[in-house]
């Protein structure tokens, strides 16, 4: 069966920061560029980023890209690739100034320069003292960035396909990527986008967890498509968690609440952080607080009927202080927990926030195979990609920087590759749509199958309970079995609505097909990595004098690669050679 084919020079999937930045490069170079997005571009999850974007502009005090590089390598717990990290940190001032020229309304100093503020982990002179490196537009940095990038794309005549969902990559027998197959929600039509180059900028997959700060859109579509097309996924065991998401909802309670005197308590009302961090207490670093919370819950001191959360108490604070210093927090608690925090404490749990792993790329944005060779015609940037600049843990404000730098570099690389190898459209294989159409037909005809909502919830609960912020050998092993059982349910999802036009039930089932790939990869990679590093912390790899923080460089200083076929794992070395400077040698990560 054939489907309509539309031809473009390049197709980009995803219209968040990375996709829009890549599209500018391509459209301004005169390439016919299509951008597919499940939502209107300025509804992408990049909007949720508040903190800022880092660049060693040195507007407020002396700074240097090399110091930024050091902070990023250290933040990554030495799992980040040093060539990519150098590339990103060196490019940061250029892409930030460029964004300013695109119309980004950065906060400014009295002299009119971009204002820079301090941020956790940003240091001068190789970890010596804090430095002001974060550039922001009030608390709307991501929002303002998307608007600036979108307007620039409109000017450059980028062609947007809004409310389209990409379903699968098209690859030929030689493995070259020739575009994507996509579904237009408004018509239900399935169309091939035949392209010389395909860039994935599909964002993260935080919805694999029950408690997630990610909006519902983050279903890992790019990762699912890549995995089904035989592309490996890299370092999927590494997920950043935030200690205080509202239990059950995931909505973030800012760290400012503890900064203003908020106290974490267990079911006995005890201020348990005094036992885990006698000095910093509730203001200890995110990972320390998150682990303490999980330990309390695991040891039976959680709160509520299922003893599955702890409490964030601000009842001792003056209500006027809460209203003045923490605007909106009272409303968040009332709306998402049914609790007025002036009268009662807020139920909170560690909550998934950011995906460090993804589709393996080099610093040019080219997707790479295990041996370092590139996948012809295929590029990725942003949270869906693993360059790897975040390694085992992302430094704050590097997520927006990642979008700008690798969005731009992937676009530049496409232009270079088109000048050499990718000059013409390669012919589509005769059967290119068969697998996708079979997947759609299976969903259409499924009887006595599983319920999409219930299956997704089972997956999310399994990920949260077995592969959360603090990990245990037995739970991980059991989690692998459970997630493979849930995969069988995903394979037989059934939808009652069979209509073509605006069938959201179908789209949600297709999103679940992508989520389960990411969930499997995460659980299997986490079970295999027998050390603690960055955001991956195992109970059976504790902090010892021989192995500080439980990190085992001798056996585990390497990237994980997961292959969907057979759930095979392999490993590749971390790139320790930067582009122009000396290696930042391994050492213990401490702040």
């Amino acid at each position: 069966m054939s489907i309509p084919v539309r031809k473009y020079d390049a197709v980009i999937v995803g219209a968040g920061g990375a996709g829009l930045r890549a599209a500018i490069q391509l459209s301004e170079a005169g390439l016919k560029t299509a951008v597919l997005s499940k939502v209107f571009p300025t509804r992408s999850h990049t909007v949720a980023a508040q903190g800022g974007v880092s660049a060693s502009l040195g507007n407020s005090e002396q700074d240097h890209w090399h110091w930024h590089m050091y902070d990023t390598v250290k933040g990554s717990d030495w799992l980040g690739d040093q060539d990519a990290i150098e590339f990103m940190c060196r490019k940061a001032p250029e892409v930030v100034v460029e964004l300013e020229h695109f119309g980004m309304p950065f906060d400014r100093t009295d002299e009119g320069k971009i204002y820079q503020r301090p941020f956790g982990g940003h240091m001068s002179n190789f970890g010596e003292k804090p430095v002001r490196r974060a550039c922001a537009a009030a608390d709307r940095t991501g929002h303002a960035m998307l608007h600036a990038l979108y307007q620039r794309n409109v000017r450059a005549n980028t062609q947007f396909f809004v409310e389209w969902m990409a379903l699968d990559l098209i690859r030929d027998e030689e493995g070259q990527v020739l575009g994507v197959i996509a579904l237009e929600m408004e018509t239900g039509e399935v169309v091939a986008f035949h392209a010389k180059a395909t860039i994935f900028a599909t964002g993260g997959a935080g919805r694999i967890f029950y408690s997630s700060t990610n909006a519902f859109i983050n279903t890992g579509d790019g990762l699912g498509m890549a995995a089904r097309a035989g592309i490996q996924l890299e370092d999927m065991e590494f997920w950043q968690f935030h200690p205080t998401g509202v239990a059950g909802a995931g909505v973030l309670i800012t760290e400012g609440v503890r900064g203003e005197g908020g106290i974490l308590r267990n079911s006995a009302g005890e201020r348990f952080m005094e036992r885990y961090a006698p000095n910093a207490k509730d203001l200890a670093s995110r990972d320390v607080v998150s682990r303490a919370m999980v330990t309390e819950i695991n040891e039976g001191r959680g709160c509520g009927p299922n003893k599955d959360f702890v409490l964030l108490d601000i009842t001792h604070l003056d209500p006027a202080t809460i209203m003045k210093r923490l605007p909106g927090i009272r409303e968040i608690s009332i709306q998402f927990a049914g609790i007025d925090p002036i009268k009662a404490p807020i139920p909170v749990v560690p909550t998934c926030h950011y995906q460090m792993g993804g589709i393996p790329t080099n610093y040019k944005g080219q997707v790479v195979n295990e041996n370092g060779s590139t996948v012809a015609g295929f590029y990725a940037a942003g949270e869906c990609a693993c360059a790897s600049v975040h390694g085992a843990n992302r430094l704050g404000t590097n997520s927006l920087l990642d979008l700008l730098v690798f969005g731009k570099s992937s676009g530049d690389t496409v232009i270079e590759d088109m000048a050499s190898g990718l000059k013409a459209h390669k012919e589509l294989p005769a059967n290119f749509a068969d697998k996708t159409l079979a997947r759609l037909a299976r969903l259409e005809n499924q009887q006595n199958g599983s319920n999409v909502h219930e299956t997704r919830l089972a997956m999310q609960r399994t990920m949260q309970n077995h592969c959360g912020v603090f990990r245990f050998k037995d739970k991980l092993e059991e989690g692998v079995q459970k997630i493979l059982e849930i995969e069988k349910q995903v394979a037989i999802t059934e939808i009652k609505d069979k209509s073509k036009v605006w069938n959201t039930a179908r789209v949600e089932a297709l999103e679940l097909d992508n989520l389960i790939e990411v969930a499997k990869a995460t659980m299997i990679c986490a079970n295999a990595r027998k050390e603690s590093r960055g955001a991956h912390v195992r109970d059976d790899a504790p902090d010892t004098p021989e192995m500080p923080n439980g990190r085992n460089d001798k056996e585990w200083h390497k990237h994980t690669l997961w292959q969907r076929d057979g759930n095979k794992l392999s490993y590749k070395p971390v790139v320790m050679t930067p582009l122009s400077v000396e290696t930042i040698a391994l050492k213990t990560r401490s702040y």
Partner: protein
């Protein structure tokens, strides 16, 4: 409202930029929307088309909605309590 229009509205309510609005609009659509008048449904659809950073401060109460028609729906959204994840 016809199925197609309702499904489109559901998508635009539950694939937002911000999780907060996914949760609130999604729940409101299921629990409150069917009981609204046609005029109120229209106003809700207008709100759902707004940018998240314009809508969320009003729903969260940090900014006041100046449009009287919209303010009535915003007040209903502000009362809605959400504890159920998707």
């Amino acid at each position: 409202m016809e199925r197609e229009a309702l499904n489109r509205l559901q998508w635009r309510c539950t694939r937002r930029a911000l999780l907060e609005l996914d949760l609130i609009l999604g729940k409101f659509l299921v629990e409150e929307f069917p009981g609204l008048s046609e005029d109120e449904k229209q106003v809700f659809a207008e709100l759902a088309d707004m940018e998240d950073h314009d809508l969320w401060p009003m729903v969260n109460g940090t900014e006041v909605c100046k449009d009287a028609r919209q303010a009535a729906i915003i007040a209903m959204l502000r009362k809605s309590e959400v504890r159920r994840p998707q």
